[in-house]
């Protein structure tokens, strides 16, 4: 074995050895349901949340349908079967009354955010980001509400929205991801505990990036977030979602649903940094992340853009999609997915072209290291009436070491001859010559690899809002930096 290779192996071990930095448990009282799921649990949940009757019925309908469904198994992931009766479907921080200011928030909670590097106050003052922090399942602090309210923007927890804006919720909830859509979406519809709701009125450009931090905390609590964003005519909103979770031994389930509705001339930009606990080096523990994210460009000239950086979770099953219904609407998907150790990711997008002159762009970068498997799975569908549809897809994969896998499963279904569809995919490793070049310039192998990988992902990072881009690069560095031979 040459000197170089030995050196590289050392670096791989050093870095794949990085323990999850943000694994700690905050001790805080939560009021929890017993384990298990049945109609009573759902009714109880609905009652706790003071939901109207129609909402309870909506949940029950989803639950009844869920019972008839089977867990999908087509994704290229393997995991232990989830025992849905072994999950507590509700856990909320005990201090329940809604809070007006940060002073009322449990100090221990605030300390947790500080450890995560996102102190609310700091965030509030410095970055001008309104943070709707979701700790476990219930919103405990909402900031900048007033500024937003002036513009008529509604940014609140979905439970609040159900109570205060039932007409909007009724109209849009489940309109993009129906209760019956898939196994996990049905489950989410039945038991979602909380999430965010955003409504941007006609002609309003949201003055700040909206953001939520999710965090799983209570032991064995599945998280079922529900997010609904509606952008009315001629509006614009950029929404940020990011998450870290403490270390756990038993697998935790995360089945979120995100729905976006973009009306005429509006634009929604949705960015995610996902860093749930990925399991330890032996593949023990970690979050199961089975998420349904879908947006519809309902109006003409509307645009939806998904950007995601996926570094966490033991198993990821996630396909943020766009239904391009309005004429001239645009869908975008930018993704970096990193897997290490025993992580498995099956992620990608669906672009459904229905309107005329619709455009979609897919840029996906997959990086696999350790013994992980990373798959891109996507669909580009051009309907019969989607004249002049245009799609460009590029899916690049990078492998580090020969115990991991990188896969690409694109589906193209084209029913219109005016469509122009291109798909490209490449798989490669970090070039030895590239590393050599940088080494020769006095840059250590570790930094060189970091640089190259960052360059590989640049196209996607460029799409992220500034403060997220920084966090994303940090995450990438922690997950991977240097793990190349």
């Amino acid at each position: 074995m040459s000197e170089e290779i030995r050196e590289d192996i050392k670096i791989i071990e050093e870095h794949t050895g990085t323990e999850y930095k943000w694994g700690f448990v905050t001790e805080i009282d939560t009021d929890e349901f017993p384990k298990g799921l049945n109609e009573d649990i759902i009714r109880q949940l609905s009652e706790i949340k003071k939901e109207p009757e129609w909402m309870t019925e909506w949940r029950l309908k989803a639950y009844r349908h869920w019972l008839t469904m089977e867990e999908p198994n087509w994704a290229k992931v393997e995991h232990e079967k989830v025992d849905y009766q072994d999950i507590k479907y509700y856990a909320a921080p005990k201090k329940k009354p809604e809070l007006e200011s940060l002073d009322e928030v449990d100090p221990e909670l605030l300390a947790t955010f500080e450890k995560l590097g996102i102190p609310l106050e700091e965030q509030k003052r410095l970055s001008g980001v309104a943070v709707d922090a979701v700790f476990d399942s219930v919103s405990v602090a909402t900031t900048f509400k007033e500024t937003l309210a002036e513009k008529g923007i509604i940014f609140c927890s979905i439970s609040e929205a159900i109570r205060n804006h039932p007409e909007l919720v009724k109209k849009y909830l489940g309109s993009v991801v129906p209760q019956t859509d898939n196994y996990y979406a049905a489950l989410n519809s039945a038991v979602f505990s909380d999430g965010s709701f955003v409504y941007i009125p006609k002609g309003v450009r949201c003055p700040m990036e909206l953001s939520t931090y999710f965090r799983i905390n209570a032991m064995d609590t599945g998280q079922f977030e529900r997010t609904l964003i509606v952008a009315d005519d001629n509006s614009y909103v950029s929404y940020l979602e990011g998450c870290t979770a403490p270390m756990r031994d038993t697998n935790q389930l995360h089945a979120a649903v995100v729905e976006l509705v973009a009306l005429e001339n509006s634009e929604i930009k949705y960015s995610t940094v996902q860093n749930w606990f990925p399991g330890d080096k032996q593949g023990k523990g970690g979050i199961y992340n089975f998420v349904t994210k879908r947006g519809i460009c309902k109006g003409n000239n509307s645009k939806i853009s998904w950007t995601q950086v996926e570094t966490g979770s033991a198993v990821t099953w996630k396909y943020p999609s766009c239904i391009l219904q309005g004429d001239n609407s645009v869908g975008e998907f930018y993704s970096v997915a990193v897997t290490n150790n025993y992580q498995q990711a099956d992620t990608g997008t669906k672009m459904i072209h229905l309107g005329k002159n619709t455009k979609s762009t897919i840029i996906s970068k997959g990086i696999s290291a350790g013994k992980s498997n990373n798959s891109y799975r996507g669909l580009v569908k051009v309907g019969k009436n989607a004249k002049n549809a245009r799609n460009f897809s590029q899916c690049d994969s990078m492998l580090m070491g020969n115990n991991c896998g990188a896969h690409t499963f694109p589906y193209l279904e084209i029913d219109n001859n005016t469509a122009q569809v291109e798909h490209e995919a490449t798989t490669s490793k970090v070039g030895e010559d590239q590393i050599f070049y940088l080494n020769q310039r006095g840059i250590s192998t570790e930094d060189a690899v970091n640089m190259i990988v960052n360059g590989f992902c640049k196209e996607v990072f460029n799409e992220l809002p500034m403060e997220f881009a920084v966090e994303a690069q940090k995450l990438l560095a922690i997950s991977l930096e240097g793990s190349v031979g």
Binding site: I414, V421, H423, A425, K429
Partner: protein
């Protein structure tokens, strides 16, 4: 007709069929296949591999295994029109899947080389044949099991070590039965031993309106340093159904060129599975499909890079008009140990009409890090600028369109290195593009 009824139909036919073949050595495998066939369901659109192709039209008919159909319906007066003009070949002719001694013309062969029908070989050389037949690892489905159940005839090409076949081998399969609906099931075997070389043209044609179901199973072994070029032409009648499963295994340093040129049939489904079971192998897969009317043309290719240092190259091009539908699914698997693999795949389709459609699924599954793999797929219509340019030079609309199409397929056609054969394919493309609407 329901799925189970049609299965029963074939099982019942086997009883009669068995009387014909009872004595031969392959019969135990036939019976084994039959029992598996009876337990296997025909694939439906729910199966991932058959997601885009519905075979229910095939199951609606009761096809008669061709060895059982009456002799007098299987006549044909001349095969001249099917030959490749001006090309000297070893000619093997099968009428409705049965070897025709009358029309075949096999020239002088070097000692050891076998070019013959499976039927003859099973009679005269069964020990040898049984070493190779049905020995490849594969995932069986109802169609391959059906083929094995009724395995009767087909071609056998065996080229021993260090031998080169002096001229191209042309296998003509003609579906000519206009009275009954024949089930034609060629069972083919090609073995190219070390350092051997051959060029094979395997052609499936049909007389107009013959409603046949051709269900092919071909096994190809390309051993160390062997070089084989294999051209498959499918130009059956528009009423025909065509299913082809080809299993290929390549050994060290071999070179294999595979062409699939698909023009005919109502539903055509091709499965080409290649295992690169050695190092320094070179594989080229070329495909061309032209669909008109309501034709459905499906190609599934699978390349298994099992060992290091191999290269595969795949180029499939399609032109779809009217309501034709194309399907392309190409999968490249790179094993953990298959370092230094180069695998490239490209699928390009042109849709000529509003109602034509294509479903493409180019897939990569990669477990080794030091590889270069890529795939690309494009779908679009003919380049309007180029069309305008040609038209502005005074070229009539129809000719301009033909020119552009011919140019689009050129990178596949130009890889055909037998000039006379290339001419014939050019001619077939031309005919296909100038059907009644012009």
């Amino acid at each position: 007709m329901s799925n189970s009824n049609i299965k029963k139909w074939y099982s019942d036919n086997f009883r009669q069929f068995e009387k014909l073949v009872e004595s031969d050595s392959f019969n135990s495998l036939r019976k084994e296949a039959l029992s598996k066939f009876e337990l296997t369901e025909f694939p439906t659109k729910k199966d991932e591999e058959w997601k885009y192709t519905s075979i229910s039209p095939i199951l609606k008919h009761e096809f008669v295994p061709s060895p059982l159909s009456k002799k007098e319906t299987s006549t044909i007066s001349s095969i001249e029109s099917f030959k490749i003009p001006n090309l000297d070949v070893h000619l093997l002719v099968f009428i409705n899947g049965i070897y025709s001694k009358e029309f075949s013309n096999i020239g002088n062969l070097e000692e050891g080389i076998i070019i013959d029908s499976l039927f003859n070989q099973l009679k005269s050389n069964s020990d040898f044949i049984n070493q190779y037949l049905s020995k490849k690892e594969t995932i069986e489905n109802s169609f391959s099991l059906l083929n094995t159940t009724f395995a009767y005839d087909g071609y056998v090409i065996y080229i021993p070590k260090n031998k080169i076949v002096n001229k191209p081998i042309h296998v003509l399969n003609i579906a000519a039965d206009e009275l009954s609906k024949p089930l034609i099931q060629p069972r083919n075997l090609i073995i190219a031993e070390q350092n051997s070389q051959a060029e094979i043209i395997s052609e499936y044609v049909g007389k107009d309106k013959v409603e046949n179901f051709t269900n092919i199973y071909t096994e190809i072994s390309v051993d160390e340093n062997a070089n084989v070029r294999f051209y498959k032409v499918q130009n059956e009648s528009d009423a025909a159904f065509h299913i082809d499963k080809t299993e290929i295994v390549q050994k060290d340093s071999s070179v294999f060129n595979h062409f699939s040129l698909s023009f005919g049939s109502k539903i055509a489904r091709n499965d080409f599975n290649t295992k690169l079971d050695g190092e320094n192998i070179e594989l080229h897969l070329y495909g061309l499909y032209l669909g008109n009317d309501d034709q459905h043309i499906d190609h599934h290719t699978f390349i298994d890079h099992a060992k290091p240092n191999c290269e595969s190259n795949e180029l499939y091009k399609g032109i779809l008009d009217d309501k034709a539908k194309g399907v392309f699914s190409g999968k490249i698997l790179v094993n953990k140990i298959a370092q230094k693999t180069n695998a490239f795949q490209s699928n390009k389709s042109v849709l000529l009409s509003d109602e034509a459609s294509i479903d493409a699924k180019p897939q990569l599954e990669i477990y080794a890090d030091d590889v270069k793999c890529s795939h690309g797929a494009t779908v679009g219509k003919l380049d309007e600028q180029a069309y305008f340019y040609i038209r502005s030079r005074g070229v009539p609309a129809e000719a301009a369109r033909s020119m552009l199409i011919r140019a689009f397929v050129d990178d596949v056609i130009s890889e055909i290195n037998i000039e006379e054969f290339r001419e014939k394919i050019n001619h077939t493309i031309f005919e296909h593009l100038h059907r009644e609407e012009f």
